[in-house]
Amino acid sequence: SLTVYISVGLTGTKSGCGGGGCGACTVMISKYDVIQKKILHFSANACLVPICMLHGAAVITVEGIGNSHTRIHPVQEQIAKAHGSQCGFCTPGMVMSMYTLLRNHPEPSMDQLQEALAGNLCRCTGYRPIIDGCKTFCKESACCQNGREGICCLDEDNSCSSSSPDAVKDVTNLYYIL
């Protein structure tokens, strides 16, 4: 399967169950569709993808969208900053599900978001912070109750990762130290 193939040197894609049930090995596959005459991008469980299915296809793993040396991708950044990564083993899969959704729908609805993440299991967080991180990309959501229309507070310097009125206010960039 594709998991075995990419695990040589690329360890970002995690193997959680080997049967397509947990989503930890999610990658994005891009293929030219001869009928629709366009390139289709879709997420897939690498553990279920036989190599022979990938003739003429491109595969993007979590390493392919960003890293902390050059530039991290906003999806990676928002999930991390929203405290959506605890043990982190499900995170690359979550990131790739979300990344694929954004490739196809740059401003997804909350429904699409929930649908895209339903195949990814997380045992640590209870999902709430993952959704909080991801919904900053949704059109309809004000990501936190403090936020102004269309502006995500996580993007600002004086950001506040809480949504409560009595929360800490003097948060600085200090918090984003790796």
Binding site: E77, S85, Q86, G119, N120
Partner: protein
């Protein structure tokens, strides 16, 4: 093919991928419907149908809507993107969600073969000939599927129920289609197919035939129920179990179909059949709502300098690296030259003598280097805490399916696994075999542990109380399901018996000790390294060390002398490493009619499995902490650990508390039902008030408990919400809502005081950078982040100067496990101590140059020959428990909280949906509110899984069926409460822990029980509609099966019940 190759070892030399053949990918509209190529992905089908539904006239889209209803929850997005329509049909799985609809809708299939050319056949009852078998000939390929439009007066609906609402195989599903004579309610044609009711998708032809011509009314409905039960005689021993539930679902679905069609006919003004208004909401499915949440942090103290990170929501130290995939886990370490892979061979018998182990075949396979059996291990019997007396590998006898018998070492993963499959072990079965708690009580198969605790005089109290009730509750076990399975890499260093062990464990010093013991070398030769874990939850304490020791034996100089890696498959991990203990709680409660509970006599039985592991400590915790938040004057509690032929259960977040206290909440709920009060009132009457003593005489102040309770009632608007729920329940017959609020008092620290210690090592380098090492393991709980915050505050430097690399036994010796919610308490004080020592040494330098920078001072200190490295130590809580005197201080302090949850259930299917949860927790002064709230939400969700959908299934022979996410369902993103609010109690402090914080890792697992009791509340409302009042039994988890069967109604009463003993059930409740 994939699952067969992966899980059943089927080998296919050549794999063809026909997915690019044009004819198999096209979609075209015809006059009668839409034709899909067989290779079209389910996602493409879904999108095409969605578009068609929005464009076509209403009467044409009945079939498409039914398909869309199932496609929405079929698999995850990743599955739907790749899985094909043709694959779903041709794999002929009896629980396929699409086949019943396609068959009911009269779809046609185009088959092709090289010899016979193409042919068209109907997808109907004759097409599915057996499990996984169809009427297509072996040389035929499915090319395309034609799905017809519906016509006027034709209605179609689809139904399904699974253990979890989304991304889970159906238990039963159905496609139902009816055609009426024009302008009437008389049935012209009826086609109904069920899935999950036999080895294939089945048609209920006879029922349909009988009903044709009848009008759509209640007589037709009752006749249909009778006919359906007749025509679908699912045997009691049917694979998949849940037989009565599945029978009930066939009726529930038909009733929903009846209502749905009736609703349509009413819209057309056709039928005169009356139906109470509250019935029609039964036809609405639960929808995902936009999640909403609120997290309330505490303010940091006024005047805290802005550089001081303590109390602030710092993000997890390696969150960014984890999100980019750069974070290195055990199995991400690159392989070394000559590295070997180890695969485990486990017992296939629950209790047997090992007659022989034949290694010859395995050794002859390519790549195989060695096979390790018990006789090849220097010290196979374990002599170190906490596994004294157990064995690494089975010796003469196996005592459960899944016990490790031997290990195969080969050059690659594939070779090792193939050879493990080729191992031949001959067994001779032994008697007895015991699996369930009930059986082990009967046969007195108990471990010798004596855990009894008494307070007051229970017998006298039972004499004077108004009422007494006796009952029991069974609580199922739980699999840890950490996303990263157990993994280890052992690297022999080639001299003096030294070895490096890279391992995913919460307890590195134990692994070190066990590996040293196994190899017969002193501990100073073995170094354990832990970078981070992909989740642990208690499951990586004892078992990880066993696997490491076997791997170390294989890597030993005189065997292979090469590094050895072992990474368990998910199925192996679930089978071998055990999980949370199933519990049986038997209770007798004496209470007054005013709600005061005066006496409780309770016995806890846990299913420990074939080895004791930490079971004695688990049962100890349940006996000590079952009082939860309630002050009961007379108590008698006893705990037993059952010895069974199942894999040994082990530590799991909460450690007996979530089971013991669920029993408590059960008798509270029962008492409330008996005296006719609401359960929150009975809770309030019996809660600890002011400064009180527990049943083991530990004094504490319940002030914060009440603050949490009152704040939770207020934040959840409990009383108003309760009235609204009563109103809702009046208006809905088949959907019910329920609410529950539960307090918690959770003791923190290890009762064995020697574990309450920790050490740290802090180095400052010449450039001013600081390297911190401590005994805690990072498993996602953010302990490294918190330790960096502590260091930053203590040394008054920014966190960017500080680094934590790993946890290792050569930097901090003899560390306790990261467990018992005590990691931050213990290690925080040790880090603080080390920093204080360093700062004291630096004081003269700083005083010399108060305006200097950190870097100036460090440089100066170095040249002045001041040591820039210090160990810190914390001698933690003095806990003790004297079981002779029945008193002690087993816990350092208590974490308090309260939680309120609201759910809605579907009484007909047993489905449930969490609507809202409000949690208020007293965590003292949080060191990192974001991390603490992460622990609260995460553990709550784990508890929600424990008490609702997570169910381990064992065969009557003690074999675990549920060995992966396909069979074992943990909560997904759509199972958490739609509204989820967490607040940290303001103005709380705790003098017993660092910076006045409190341990919070474990407690909230138990709060998941609010969902359980809210479900029970909703079921009670449904039962009242059927005229049933008073207490009723509901075991945990509250699965769809248990919810449905507890909502007794006219349909469940029709379902035939098989006499126990007249059939062999598929699964047993252990």
């Amino acid at each position: 093919l994939g699952p067969d190759m992966k899980f059943k070892g089927v080998f296919h030399p050549v794999i063809l991928c026909p997915a690019r053949i044009l004819e198999m990918n096209v979609v075209y509209y015809t006059e009668y419907g839409i034709t899909f190529g067989a290779a079209c992905s389910l996602d493409l089908v879904k999108n095409t149908l969605t578009k068609a539904v929005s464009e076509l006239s209403k009467e044409k889209i009945e079939v498409f809507c039914a398909l869309l209803r199932q496609l929405k929850s079929l698999g995850g997005q990743q599955i739907r993107n790749v899985a094909s329509l043709g694959g779903n049909i041709m794999s002929a799985n009896p629980t396929s969600d699409l086949n019943p609809i396609l068959a009911a809708a009269n779809c046609t299939l185009n088959l092709a073969s090289a010899e016979a050319g193409t042919r068209e056949i109907a997808l109907n009852e004759d097409f599915f000939v057996g499990f996984g078998k169809t009427a297509a000939k072996p040389d035929e390929v499915l090319v395309s599927v034609h799905i017809p439009y519906s016509s006027k007066w034709e209605y179609m609906f689809a139904f399904r129920q699974a253990q979890r609402r989304e991304n889970a195989f159906s238990i039963v599903n159905s496609g139902m289609r009816v055609l009426f004579h024009e302008e009437t309610a008389a049935i012209e044609d009826l086609r109904i197919f069920y899935g999950g009711m036999g080895p294939t998708t089945v048609s209920v032809k006879k029922t349909c035939k009988e009903l044709i011509g009848r009008p759509w009314n209640e007589e037709m409905l009752s006749e249909a129920c009778r006919l359906l039960l007749d025509e679908l005689p699912l045997p009691g021993s049917a694979p998949g179990g849940m037989v009565e539930y599945r029978r009930a679902l066939t009726l529930s679905f038909f009733f929903k179909f009846y209502l749905s069609v009736l609703h349509r006919l009413k819209e057309m003004n056709i039928t005169g059949q009356d139906m109470p208004l509250g019935y029609f909401t039964a036809i609405e499915d639960f929808q995902n709502e936009t999640p909403q949440s609120l997290q309330i942090y505490q303010e940091v103290t006024q005047g805290q300098p802005s550089w001081d990170p303590v109390g602030r929501p710092i993000i997890h130290q390696s969150a960014i690296k984890q999100a980019t995939g750069e974070a290195v886990y055990c199995d991400d370490i690159p392989s070394l030259d000559g590295e070997l892979f180890m695969a485990l061979v486990t017992s296939s018998r629950p209790h047997a003598k090992i007659v022989s182990i034949d290694v010859a075949d395995a050794l002859n396979l390519p790549g195989v280097v060695d096979v390790i059996t018990a006789s090849g291990v220097l010290a196979n019997k374990i002599t170190v805490f906490p596994l004294e007396g157990e064995h690494l590998l089975a010796e003469a006898e196996v005592t459960c399916i899944g016990q490790i018998v031997c290990a195969v070492v080969a050059d690659t993963r594939v070779h090792a696994k193939r050879a493990a499959g080729a191992m031949k072990i001959a067994y001779e079965d032994l008697e007895p075999t015991v699996f369930t708690i009930e059986a082990s009580i009967q046969q007195n198969s108990l471990y010798k542990i004596d855990m009894k605790l008494a307070k007051g005089n229970v017998d006298e109290a039972f004499e004077i109380v108004d009422q007494i009730l006796e009952d029991e509750i069974h609580i199922g076990g739980q699999e840890h399901f950490y996303l990263e399975t157990n993994s280890v890499l052992v690297i022999p260093k080639g001299e003096d018996g030294e070895m490096d062990v890279f391992i995913a464990t919460q307890f590195p010093s134990f692994t070190q000790e066990l590996v040293a013991m196994t190899l017969g070398v002193p501990s100073n030769r073995i170094t354990c390294h832990v970078k981070r874990l992909g989740g642990a939850f208690g499951g990586k304490i004892s078992k990880a060390a066993i696997i490491a020791s076997i791997a170390a034996t294989a890597a030993e100089k005189y065997r292979t002398g090469r590094s050895v890696r072992c990474v368990l498959e998910r199925g192996e991990d679930m089978l071998i490493t055990g999980g949370r203990h199933p519990f049986l709680g038997k209770y007798k409660v004496g209470f007054m009619n005013d709600g005061r509970i005066l006496a409780v006599d309770v016995s806890f039985y846990c299913n420990a499995g074939s080895a004791l592991d930490e079971s004695a400590l688990v049962i100890e915790k349940s006996v000590l902490q079952f009082d939860n938040a309630y002050s009961i004057p007379n108590i008698r509690a006893q705990g037993y650990a059952c010895k069974t032929n199942l894999p040994s259960n082990t530590a799991f977040r909460g450690f007996g508390f979530p089971q013991g206290s669920l029993v408590t909440e059960n008798w509270i709920t029962d008492v409330a039902a008996k005296v006719g009060f609401s359960s929150e009132k009975v809770r309030e009457i019996n809660m600890y008030k002011g400064v009180e003593r527990t049943h083991y005489k530990q004094e504490f102040d319940a002030h914060s408990l009440w603050r949490c309770w009152n704040e939770c009632l207020e934040k959840s608007a409990y009383h108003n919400r309760k009235i609204a729920i009563e109103e809702f329940n009046k208006q809905h017959r088949w959907k019910k809502r329920g609410i529950a609020v539960v307090p918690i008092k959770y003791g923190i620290g290890f009762p064995s005081s020697f574990l309450n210690q920790a050490a740290a090592l802090v180095h400052i380098y010449k450039d001013g950078s600081v390297l911190v090492t401590h005994g805690g393991v990072e498993m996602g709980q953010g302990i490294h982040t918190k330790m960096m915050q502590v260091t930053s505050r203590e040394l008054r430097i920014p966190m960017s100067y500080i680094h934590i690399s790993e946890t290792s036994t050569n930097t901090v010796p003899n560390a306790s496990p990261s467990a018992a919610s005590y990691g931050t308490d213990a290690n925080g004080l040790a880090v603080k101590n080390a920093c204080e020592i360093l700062l004291q040494r630096l004081d003269p330098v700083i005083n010399d140059n108060p305006k200097g920078t950190w870097k100036d001072w460090i440089k100066k200190a170095y040249f002045q020959r001041i040591s820039l490295s210090a160990t810190g130590y914390s001698r933690g809580l003095d806990t003790k428990m004297d079981w002779e005197k029945q008193e002690g201080q087993p816990y350092g302090y208590f974490t308090f909280g309260a939680c309120c949850s609201v759910v809605e259930i579907d009484c007909l299917t047993g489905d449930h949906k969490s609507i809202r949860t409000d949690i208020v927790m007293d965590v003292g002064c949080s060191i990192n509110p974001a991390v603490d709230i992460g622990q609260i939400e995460g553990s709550f969700t784990q508890g929600l899984g424990l008490y609702t959908i997570e169910e381990l299934k064992y065969s009557p022979k003690g074999m675990l069926y549920s060995r992966g996410p396909a069979q074992y369902k943990i909560p997904t993103v759509n199972d958490v409460p739609a509204q989820f609010n967490v607040s940290l109690l303001a103005g709380s402090c705790n003098p017993k822990a660092i910076y006045s914080s409190k341990g919070i890792g474990e407690p909230c697992v138990f709060l998941g029980c609010t969902v359980f009791y809210a479900i029970k509340d909703a079921i009670a409302a449904a039962r009242r509609d059927s005229g049933l009042t008073g207490p009723f039994p509901l075991d945990s988890p509250a699965t769809p099966e248990r919810i449905r069967m507890a909502c007794v109604d006219q349909f469940t009463k029709l379902v035939p019940v098989d006499e126990p003993g007249t059939y062999g059930p598929w699964a047993i409740h252990i």
